[in-house]
């Protein structure tokens, strides 16, 4: 497999964050990029800068009034009571200085990654700042202000009329924002595999949510049981994703690679390890070559164990995007630099040792239930895709 890979990033993208003790911490980007660099994975790959998304870009999927509210909030010019209906100024999405500019940059990064791939300048492109999949048309939600994938998909569809885009979301949380933006659009297939909404934010993502109108069948949801492990997550992915993508026949695959399904993640209740975060990119990569000449854009997403999980998971993502071998060990330099800063002991190896993650109770009950859910999706939803 060949094809040039691009990584879209600049330090300005690290200004998207909510400060203080907030769980969404842009330090995770710094940790990841420095890990990639120390591993030698960036030697032939200079960072590609990007421009912030314009108002015109943002309003492909967001309401202009909402954009204005974010702008005012970022200038400190709005009353909290006026912002709350837009999901801003809450515990999850507090106001931070210049929040419009920082949020628009994230969107611009993912849009640039999409354009590089659609122009053929890169076969695959990654922007780990992206993946803010909860942002709604007129509302910030779940740490997400603007929906980068939503804007990129809508804009690329305008720039290349008739293209079909598949969105594959393996964040532990349902990719609700992106799903609702294209719920009636048969040219955009959204697939989300996530912890069941009965147990985890945002609460949606049941199998019966399968798109509406012309788009019926083009939203695919696979809710997983709490405490699902690698084996069952991977089996579910394999049952649903290749089949769905082959039915659909995308021209571009955009993957949201949130890594908060890891056992150590403090916000969710799934039990994956780094094995999942090697498997998913490898398979999406294969499918992109099989189905759409390799055109693949990868974003980040959730991931709240920023020391032990995120850097390793997204370094593995980049290794896959750029066709490089993932080294076995974390570099000493990185460990020395960040070890003293980390509140938790840092792993020495890039891959989790399965012995450290023994199977939990009810593991077969959980995987049986997930397998039944995947079968239900296969029978009831995938036949609607044409």
């Amino acid at each position: 497999m060949t094809g040039r890979a691009a990584i879209v990033h600049d330090t300005a993208l690290e200004s998207y964050g909510f400060g203080g003790e907030h769980p969404f911490n842009p330090l995770r980007l710094r940790l990841t990029l420095e890990l990639c660099e120390d591993l030698g994975l960036l030697e032939d790959y200079p960072l590609t800068p990007s421009e912030p998304a314009t108002e015109g870009d943002l309003t492909t999927v967001h309401n202009l009034t909402y954009v204005r509210m974010v702008q005012e909030a970022g200038r400190g010019a709005a009353l909290l009571s006026d912002l709350r209906p837009y999901g801003i100024g809450t515990g999850d999405n507090p106001v931070f200085p210049d929040m419009h500019a920082a949020s628009a940059r994230v969107v611009g990064g993912v849009l640039e990654a999409g354009r590089l791939v659609m122009r053929g300048d890169a076969a695959h492109a990654m922007c780990i700042s992206g993946g803010l999949h909860h942002a709604l048309r007129s509302e910030a939600s779940g740490f997400c202000v603007y929906n980068d994938a939503g804007v990129a998909i809508a804009r690329l569809k305008e720039e290349h009329p008739g293209i079909r885009i598949a969105y594959v979301d393996t964040d532990a949380h349902h990719g609700d924002g992106v799903q609702w933006m294209f719920f009636e659009d048969p040219e955009v297939l959204t697939i989300s595999i996530h912890e069941s909404g009965r147990y985890l934010f945002p609460g949606t993502g049941g199998v019966h949510e399968k798109g509406s109108g012309e788009g019926k069948g083009y939203a695919v949801n696979v809710p997983l049981m709490p405490f699902t492990d690698d084996g069952s997550f991977i089996a579910t992915f394999e049952t649903v994703v290749p089949e769905a993508l082959r039915h659909f026949g995308p021209d571009l695959i955009l993957s949201q690679n949130g890594c908060d399904a890891h056992r150590l993640d403090p916000l969710t209740h799934l039990s994956a390890t780094t094995r999942l975060y090697e498997h998913v990119p490898a398979r999406v990569h294969d499918l992109a070559h099989e189905l759409c000449e390799g055109r693949w854009v990868a974003t980040g997403g959730g991931g709240y164990d920023i020391w032990r999980v995120v850097p390793r998971a997204w370094a593995a993502l980049w290794a896959s995007v750029s066709h490089q071998e993932l080294p076995e060990k974390l570099p000493e330099d990185w460990l020395h630099r960040w070890g003293p800063e980390s509140p938790v002991g840092l792993p020495r190896l890039m891959r989790d040792d399965p012995a450290d993650y023994p199977a939990g109770p009810r593991v077969s009950e959980i995987s049986d239930k997930n397998a039944r859910t995947a079968e239900e999706v296969l029978e009831k939803v995938l036949p609607l895709i044409r």
Binding site: T90, G91, D92, H134, F143, F201, P202, G203, P266, L267
Partner: protein
């Protein structure tokens, strides 16, 4: 969603006592419904279900079936004693009536006028809606000792964190002594674990989200 009028179907297919069983069954099939109120001169005189109609006519394949479908009249088959509800009744009262009388459907009367019909599936749907995810949020389950003020205490701590409570229901926990109740909250945050740890520090038992 808390009153019958919020959940009921307003367009009601009805029959007259003189309609045939065949016509009634065709209506059930076309509209995919199982219960039909029977009106005579605008007032409710009975109710008939597809099951009543089937048991009053020969089975499918029986040579006498066609004749019976054309002969048997709704007025001969219908139940004449109809349990009804009103549009302003609480949905839980309607649910309780259905449970007690072992029926699956209640015509809704405003005075003498039929204004809607509510079925057990409508009640289920409103239950799902009340507990459910019509806006983004997380589930929390907290044990609340069965005495005044505990629910207020929990809600107060959640409120102090700036977290909005979208909905709450409470119910008894089975086989607990002394009796306790569990409260299920939907809260508008992606990160309920912070609230959970605050509640645990205040000596509440949090059943979900699980604590590390």
């Amino acid at each position: 969603m808390l009153q019958v009028k919020d959940s009921m179907a307003r367009e009601v297919a009805t029959l007259s006592p003189g309609d045939t069983a065949g016509e009634a069954l065709a209506l059930c099939r076309d509209r995919r419904i199982r219960h039909l109120p029977v009106l005579d001169g605008g007032s409710l005189v009975g109710i008939v279900s597809d099951r009543d109609l089937r048991s009053a006519t020969p089975a499918f394949g029986d040579p006498d079936r066609a004749a019976a479908l054309a002969e048997v009249r709704v007025g001969d088959v219908m139940a004449r004693e109809v349990v009804t509800t009103g549009p302003d009744d609480p949905i839980d009262a309607a649910a309780n009536t259905m449970r007690e009388r072992r029926i699956n459907c209640l015509p809704v009367l405003e005075g003498d006028r039929l204004v809607g019909i509510v079925t057990s599936s409508d009640v289920m749907e409103s239950l799902v809606y009340l507990l459910g995810a019509h806006e983004p949020g997380s589930r929390m389950e907290v044990v609340v000792p069965d005495r005044p003020g505990t629910l207020a205490g929990v809600a107060g701590l959640i409120g102090e964190l700036g977290i909005n409570i979208v909905s709450v229901v409470t119910g008894p926990r089975q086989e607990e002594d002394p009796p306790t109740r569990v409260a299920i909250f939907r809260v508008d945050t992606i990160n309920p674990s912070h609230a959970a740890s605050v509640l645990e520090k205040a000596d509440y038992t949090v059943l979900w989200p699980p604590r590390p």
